[in-house]
């Protein structure tokens, strides 16, 4: 697992954004449970936990740009492609099952969790086919 300087920077950003996500989520849940927010403020507070997650996507993109080791970059791209394929396939299948009333409706943000799981699959595929994996998993 090569910890290149870019990978280390990504890791710091990931930790900070994850902490921020936790704080925003607690804040939003508390605000809504205790009916402290309404109107325009409710919209802002509801979106608040999504912002650090969007930041994590941006951090991943930035890592991809900053990573100087082209082999590690290739591993990362392969991993992301697996994650994207897996997530979109799951969303498509679930969408049709939901549409025909065979399964219950699932909140949209679970897509993010699926995408992370897909990254894990991509890392395993990299490990199995190339014997290496990037740190972004």
């Amino acid at each position: 697992m090569p910890w290149t300087p870019a990978a280390k920077r990504y890791n710091v950003r990931l930790i900070l954004l994850s902490l921020l996500y936790g704080a925003f989520l607690v804040l939003a849940v508390y605000g809504f449970r205790h009916h402290l927010v309404a109107g325009a403020a409710a919209w802002i507070v509801a979106i608040l936990p999504a912002l650090p997650l969007i930041g994590i996507f941006a951090a991943m993109g930035r890592y991809l740009v900053e990573e100087q080791d082209e082999y590690i970059r290739m591993l990362l791209v392969r991993q992301m492609l697996w994650a994207m394929g897996f997530t979109m396939s799951c969303a498509t299948v679930w969408g049709f099952l939901d549409n025909f009333g065979l399964v219950g409706h699932v909140d949209g943000y679970w897509i993010v969790a699926l995408w992370y799981f897909g990254q894990g699959i991509g890392a395993c595929v990299n490990r199995a086919t190339l014997g290496a994996r990037a740190v972004c998993s």
Partner: protein, 67 residues
């Protein structure tokens, strides 16, 4: 892509880590190139060849000429 990286490295008593440090890439990259699992970009291939003081075709075997 077939290459002579392992031989050239061994001639200089360099470990994969030594070569990786000189090329400013990860040891995994050197290993992947050596074992033919990854074909380096043209700039990296030039850097490798120049490090050994050779032409690219003296380090890497052209896929069309490989047996």
């Amino acid at each position: 892509m077939e290459n002579r990286l392992r031989v050239l490295r061994a001639e200089r008593n360099w470990s994969q880590g030594d070569l990786a440090e000189r090329l400013e890439v990860s040891r995994q990259s050197v290993n992947a190139i050596e074992t033919g699992k990854y074909d380096p970009s043209l700039p990296l291939a030039f850097r490798i060849a120049e490090l050994f003081g050779l032409a690219i075709e003296q380090v890497f075997v052209s896929p069309s000429r490989a047996e």
